[in-house]
Amino acid sequence: MTIRISAPDTASKGEVIELKAMIQHKMETGYRRDSRGDVVARDVITRFECRYNGELVFASDFHPGIAANPFLSFHTRATESGTLDFTWTDQDGQSWSETHELTVE
């Protein structure tokens, strides 16, 4: 599963920083049928969370209306040096994560 994260490596204390995250996922709705008329099983990510040194700073619930390869862009305030943890969890509980180290000066 390919994940792309865009976040600054350094920020000054109190600065509002933009975080972007994208994951390769087909987000199959469960409403489509294949060429033989069989229902294509639903396969969607249901939850995205971003934690900053363990503290939840952004979360999103996904539903079948979300396009494939979901892309999120959001902001947080840089308070201290630490780890940004991005986690996606699908309907079956499988999850994918990526981390980014942020230095606050």
């Binding site: 390919t2 792309r4 865009s6 972007k20 994208m22 494939a68 390869n69 892309f71």
Partner: protein, 264 residues
């Protein structure tokens, strides 16, 4: 007497009708001075998505391709072992594909060259056409040539493929009885339902099509076009589509490689 007159009328009509109405599309090439990449026909939002190197979803495959390029599989030699860590030796290469393979005399596109490398130099099985791994590697290699003008050789052994591709382009096919040229040479810039007809250049492929919700090859796009005119599509990676790819590359000569493009 009446019958003779009717035949005379028919003969007269057949002789005086312009060639287009007689069933043969005009074979004039697209003039160089009006050549425009498919990007020019996109909605502003789609164009912005292609221009943003983070938001452009095609980069998911570029990233994947870069990883595959650097890593050997099961102890095999990595692509990077021969072509340089950042693919430095391949910069600009994609702009000259498809080309005729000197050893076999066959036309190969980038997908074909990658699979040839896997079999001959890496002892790996070829990847399936349109598999995520082959798309990723193709996109990565093409992306190394981003900005390079398309320039292919259609002389010598390539000439026969070029002719084959050109014939395909100008031949009416399918239940709608349309040739590629009738949309992309004669009516580009006009509307086909809600969409603007492009000139049909392949310089942004593999491209992320919003309709597909994934990255896809030029051959998949050709396949869709054939289905669109209700013609029997050719297999992906077939000689016919490779020949069309060559004709399109010659036709797009001078346009910069845009991989990964974003298309409607």
């Amino acid at each position: 007497m009446i019958r003779a007159g009717l035949i005379a009328c028919l003969v007269f009509a057949a002789c005086s009708a312009p060639p287009e109405e007689a069933g043969t599309p005009v074979r004039d090439p697209l003039p160089d001075d009006i050549k425009r990449s498919g990007t020019a026909f996109l909605q502003p939002d789609t164009r912005a998505l292609q221009a943003d190197d983070f938001a452009n979803p095609g980069f998911l495959w570029i990233d994947r391709g870069e990883k595959l390029f650097r890593a050997g599989v099961d102890g095999s030699k990595a692509c990077a072992a021969c072509h340089g860590e950042d693919g430095a030796d391949l910069v600009g290469a994609a702009a000259h594909y498809p080309q005729v393979d000197a050893a076999s005399g066959e036309l190969v596109n980038i997908e074909g060259r990658i699979n040839q490398c896997r079999e001959q130099h890496q002892s790996l099985p070829p990847l399936d056409y349109e598999s995520d791994d082959l798309l990723a590697l193709t996109a990565y290699v093409s992306h190394l040539s981003r900005g390079e003008p398309v320039s292919v050789d259609v002389s010598g052994p390539a000439a026969r493929y070029y002719e084959m591709g050109r014939d395909y382009f100008f031949t009416r096919r399918g239940q709608l009885n349309l040739a590629c040229s009738q949309c992309h040479n004669e009516h580009w810039g006009e509307k086909l339902r809600g969409d603007t007809i492009s000139q049909g250049h392949g310089n942004a492929f593999p491209a992320y099509r919003l309709e597909w919700q994934t990255l896809g090859s030029l051959h998949r796009r050709l396949n869709d076009c054939d289905e669109g005119v209700r013609a029997e599509p050719m297999p992906l990676g077939s000689d016919t589509y490779k020949a069309v790819e060559l004709y399109l590359a010659k036709r797009a000569e001078g346009l910069p490689i845009e991989t990964p493009g974003v298309r409607r």
